[in-house]
Symmetry: C2
Subunit: 353 residues, 2 copies
């Protein structure tokens, strides 16, 4: 699978673990640090260690798995460990994990001593097709997602397809939502391919294609002034649903499950506001509902959900701003949505069979 060239950094697919070791050696780093969580420490780190052979100028930093770890307090813990381990400006951070690891590890590295190099080795489908590409880093404060972060590009990304084999099905579905989104906002051919594929274990080709779409967008607009907003489709409502679930549910929604709900609601808004046809709306709903279990969203949550949407980074001057669709494969940026419209779209989701 061909290496994808992003904004001054490569995204490797072939022999990516070996490429990682080559990269470290070529970089002449004084020391490197591998950030893992307890899952990747068990399932992914041994394969990396095998490749490292007798290299020993590194330390491990392990955090708990899960979005709760993306809080500023854990980030402070990482900074303190870097201090204690004597990390200098010629150090390298290797983020081995899912989106929490790459977002927080990227933020910690991009700000430690005003910035040390970092690379991503994404180990979940979600982080392979989304978090690891595009240079967004971030942490949460008071459960508000990515409220603090930077735009800083990694020095390289290493996609190892075999890491996905250890993932539970729910994690695959979580990443799949972003792949579906890439088709919906930008590439009808990709959407059509996805909907006729076996998606229980998406092929490496489908992942490569998804990253190509995202990469094209972020290269054109790295700091989200314009076309990058396309990637927010499903996320205005989806993020609010995700945060609310994280705060209230015993077994919270994954990111992708929440974005799947957000995409249905925002496809409904697109139908009402930007001309998405009823046939295409029905098709989107059918594909998504065929993949994701129905979530028991409640009308009593609307107030909290609207309050969360009001805190969304994409808003301006206190108005809630959504990326919608003209049609499948064609996004429509910067649509102000009223509270009434947003609630109507949530009710549309609730009313679906």
């Amino acid at each position: 699978m061909k290496t994808i060239q992003s904004d001054n950094y490569p995204i490797y697919f072939e022999d990516s673990k070996a490429e990682l070791v080559k990269f470290i050696k070529a970089g002449n780093y004084s020391r490197f640090f591998i950030l893992t969580d307890e899952n990747t420490a068990v399932h992914c780190l041994p394969a990396i260690k095998d490749q490292l052979g007798d290299m020993d100028n590194y330390d491990l930093i392990e955090i708990n798995a899960g979005e709760e770890s993306k809080d500023i307090d854990f980030c402070i813990g990482i900074w303190k460990m870097l201090i204690d381990f004597g990390a200098d400006r010629k150090s390298l951070m290797i983020n081995l994990g899912g989106g929490v690891i790459s977002d927080m590890g990227g933020f910690a590295a991009s700000t430690f001593k005003r910035g040390i190099d970092f690379v991503h080795v994404p180990t979940t489908l979600l982080s392979q097709v989304d978090a690891s590409v595009g240079g967004k880093t971030g942490i949460d404060i008071d459960s508000i997602k990515n409220i603090v972060g930077t735009f800083t590009q990694p020095k390289a990304v290493f996609i190892a397809y075999d890491f996905l084999k250890t993932l539970p099905q729910r994690q695959i579905l979580s990443g799949l939502a972003e792949m579906l989104k890439h088709g919906l906002i930008m590439d009808a051919a990709y959407w059509n391919t996805l909907k006729t594929s076996d998606l229980s274990q998406p092929s490496e080709e489908l992942i490569h294609w998804s990253i190509e779409i995202k990469n094209k967008v972020v290269i054109e607009d790295p700091t989200e002034q314009s076309i990058r907003k396309a990637l927010n489709f499903g996320h205005t409502i989806g993020h609010a649903v995700e945060t609310n679930s994280l705060l209230t549910d015993k077994n919270p929604l994954t990111h992708g499950e929440a974005i799947a709900i957000g995409m249905i609601c925002e496809a409904y808004l697109a139908h009402k506001k930007t001309g998405l046809s009823s046939n295409e709306l029905a098709e989107i709903v059918e594909v998504i509902n065929g993949l994701y279990p129905k979530y028991p969203l409640k009308e009593t949550s609307y107030e909290v959900l609207l309050a969360l949407m009001m805190k969304d980074k994409k808003n301006q001057s206190g108005k809630i701003n959504c990326t919608l669709l003209d049609r499948i494969g064609q996004c429509n940026l910067d649509n102000i949505c009223t509270d009434a419209e947003l609630c109507e779209s949530l009710s549309y989701y609730i009313g679906l069979q």
Copy 2:
């Protein structure tokens, strides 16, 4: 006094408070935030409010004065207030204060929602000639200065000379150390002018000249890959002395007082290692000791000071790295200094009359 053009932003001297208001109006910001401490809230904010007239789309954020406030915990407080005030990506942060305000306000703004605009209105001599120019932002963790930060340029800097009139003499001396440094590393004519000037209240011309020197350096090397390291003269030892004083002294050294000590020690190292003549060393010592009170540095602190120097951002591969001088007006970058040499330079300071 002529506006200085920095890396894509202006540094205003004439009518700078009025220029600030023009800037806010032209920027079409959804809202702005003025970060102050309890001193600038009393001595500087009223003059800004006068200029703002009936503009009311702003909020005030006040922190305690002093380096202790530059801790990550206070920064989290600023982020939370920005969340509570509903700051969006089109918000502006105005940092009205000394180096603590500009460093931390700059860091908070450069990372909030992955970066909102900020400007500096420096109110101390130190922040006018140093912190406000060059795009370094930073906070302290565990009293390690600026261990976390970004390189992010402000959108403008507004130098108001009249703010200096309310400053105690000790604060003037604190800024003066950086002005002396600018002469020593880069401009013998400036050094010669300084040493024959009345420095109890440096003139606006001397401040303008100092900023021109710093600006030239940071434009050439914004992220400190090479010549910007010149600005670290006096800071390897000075920062350690400052941190140690902050941790142990009832009435800690100011930044400039510590840097004055650091410059004497590092001038001594320059004499030993990079050819600074004994006459020039004596001249530097005479000028600095004529301005700053002698600090009772103790040999029992050497171990702690060396440990602090080891955590300096400028080090690589565990070696302590100093910027020294070839002669007055000419710096010499990247000199590895041994513990023995560093201790010898501290003893040189202690041995001075």
